[in-house]
């Protein structure tokens, strides 16, 4: 398949740069689907990952929602974990030491119920040894301001991103909610408020009804849709964001295989995150990394950066 001898010889460059953070390859884990790295370390070598994004953290521990928290949908799943987590302090004390053993950057995903909670979590995480970047999950309601979801209201979003930007020198990734009319606009707001990078998409709100019980299947009624079902929406949104901002993009949403990751990279993502796929195939990330290299060789390309944003549309 058009493999020229010498392109077979040299292995192509897979490393990318996200706001000064050098990744050995563009494949990271999606927050909340990879725990704090431990669970999957028996299935794959964490050193091979581009980055590890940990489960969303808050300033204080969270118990999350009652069960059922999970329900399957066609080519997807809804989750309503309710952001259960051990809190930033326990994370730094009990989980970071394990992650520091690997030469893979750790990105701490965090969130809050209020701007103050965001600021505090960001401060604590910024001072922790072994946290290389912060990913802000703004798909949560602002309990102080009438439960408006930070990520769906430009003003609220601008405030919280600006505030966090002031409190950290780490690369700041803002993770967008897809539940908006104009994703390019929200990305622009984040960029102007000081984000170093954009990641998307977070899950899309959905519901499944148990028709005999006349009840939503999830105890929380609604949950977040992820998996292959959302991929075409996610790829479209990454492309719109790529046209709207200059900062790098981390694309995710239904990436199951290398070909899916390539769709995101070509549409403008400089890196990708793999989420739901880990549940079905614990070695999905590794297979995707190998698949990207294979693709570059077959296409006779020497550097992954050559295809980023290469979409002819």
């Amino acid at each position: 398949m058009g493999i020229t001898p010498n392109s077979e010889l040299r292995t192509p460059n897979l490393s990318v740069d996200i706001a000064g953070l050098k990744l050995k390859n563009p494949v990271m884990t999606a927050s909340g689907t990879f725990g704090y790295g431990e669970e999957y370390s028996e299935f794959l070598d964490l050193n091979r990952l581009g980055a590890i994004v940990v489960k969303g953290l808050s300033i204080t521990p969270r118990q999350g929602n009652p069960t059922p928290r999970i329900v399957e949908t066609p080519a997807g799943m809804l989750n309503a974990i309710g952001l259960q987590n051990i809190g930033v302090k326990a994370f730094i004390k009990d989980k970071l030491p394990f992650l520091r053993q690997f030469n893979t950057p750790v990105i701490a995903n965090f969130f809050g119920d209020s701007i103050d909670e965001y600021i505090h979590a960001a401060e604590v995480l910024s001072n922790a040894e072994g946290v290389h970047a912060l990913e802000m999950n703004i798909s949560c309601p602002n309990k102080q301001a009438g439960w408006i979801v930070f990520g769906t209201d430009p003003k609220t979003m601008e405030h919280v991103v600006t505030a966090v930007r002031k409190t950290t020198d780490l690369p700041l990734i803002v993770k967008l909610s897809p539940n908006v009319t104009d994703i390019g606009l929200t990305a622009k707001v984040a960029e102007n408020a000081g984000a170093d990078a954009i990641s998307l998409i977070n899950t899309i709100t959905g519901m499944v009804v148990d028709v005999k019980k006349r009840r939503p299947v999830l105890a929380n009624n609604t949950g977040g849709l992820s998996g292959p079902a959302v991929r075409p929406i996610a790829v479209r949104m990454v492309w719109e964001v790529y046209k709207a901002v200059k900062i790098p993009i981390i694309g995710m949403g239904g990436i199951m295989a290398a070909n899916d990751a390539l769709e995101f990279l070509i549409a403008g993502a400089r890196a990708v995150a793999v989420g739901t796929a880990n549940f079905i195939n614990p070695t999905a990330t590794i297979e995707i990394i190998e698949g990207l290299e294979k693709f570059l060789i077959e296409e006779g390309l020497s550097d992954i950066n050559e295809i980023i944003g290469s979409l002819k549309a």
């Binding site: 669970e39 999350g64 009652p66 999970i70 549940f279």
Partner: protein, 255 residues
């Protein structure tokens, strides 16, 4: 030796309208499963159904794994289509296991709950006082096998089509009352529908008896990463797939 492996379908035997026995032969070396552990299984590589489903290890012989399952929805239906020679993806063995009984023990099975307990009965033959209940005769799958491996057995069905008519937890209660108090504590191992287990928690309440139950929750990852399968315990949230599926009934906070 990885817990994520491919296995070849040896056969997929139909026991009756609802139940199947799936025999797999792993294509690579695997860890040895303990009674109470489970595997995440999936037939084919379509994205619908997307997620693997959890199934208790029913039998393990040198290089074969057996699973007893009941057809419920998409996932188990697609499993039921497996033909000899088909390759499937599996993750396991996962979770903890039933603590070893020393001497006699009580096994309480509700319906398909027998799947995880039969492995225990086989490992410790003629030590079990078996209590096995189901909706009806047809749902009492593997009844003879279970009886044969047990010291004595008490059977109930909701409709009386086999054994006594009534709830299995009631006959357990009778059993307890018949015992001279000194005869406690035999350890008790239970697997079955949540209502049965909740009922059990009342039966054993106050009694000085070690009681282990295997719980079910919807699962996505099966390995502890997604936090989809948590239950409330006296020491906070626990993951059924990781700290469980076997829990000391006294630790569980029923909702």
């Amino acid at each position: 030796m990885s817990k994520y492996f491919k296995a070849k379908t040896v056969d997929n035997i139909s026991l009756n309208k609802h139940f199947r026995l799936l025999n797999l032969s792993p294509l690579s070396d695997i860890d040895i499963p303990q009674p109470g552990q489970f595997y995440m299984l999936q037939a084919g590589d379509t994205y619908d159904p997307l997620l693997k489903r959890p199934f208790s290890i029913f039998r393990h012989e040198d290089n074969s794994l057996s699973f007893l399952y009941r057809i419920r929805g998409k996932g188990t239906l697609s499993l039921s289509h497996l033909k000899s020679g088909d390759i499937i993806n599996a993750i396991g063995p996962l979770g903890n296991s039933y603590p070893e009984p020393h001497g006699d023990f009580i096994a309480l099975a509700g319906g398909i709950g027998i799947a995880s307990l039969l492995h225990l009965l086989a490992r410790f033959k003629n030590k079990a006082h078996l209590f096995y209940g189901a909706r009806n005769k047809e749902e009492l799958v593997m009844l003879n096998e279970a009886k044969a491996l047990s010291k004595e057995s008490f059977i109930t069905t909701d409709d009386g089509s086999e054994g006594e008519k009534g709830l299995i937890t009631d006959s357990l209660m009778k059993f307890f009352n018949s015992l001279p108090i000194t005869h406690y504590p035999l350890p008790l191992y239970a697997c079955g529908p949540t209502p049965m287990l909740r009922e059990l928690s009342k039966v054993v309440a106050g009694k000085d008896i070690k009681c282990y139950v295997s719980l079910e929750e919807h699962m996505a990852c099966g390995v502890g990463a997604c936090l989809g399968c948590v239950i409330k315990t006296v020491s906070g949230n626990k993951r059924v797939c990781k700290e469980g599926p076997v829990f000391d009934i006294k630790d569980i906070i029923w909702e």
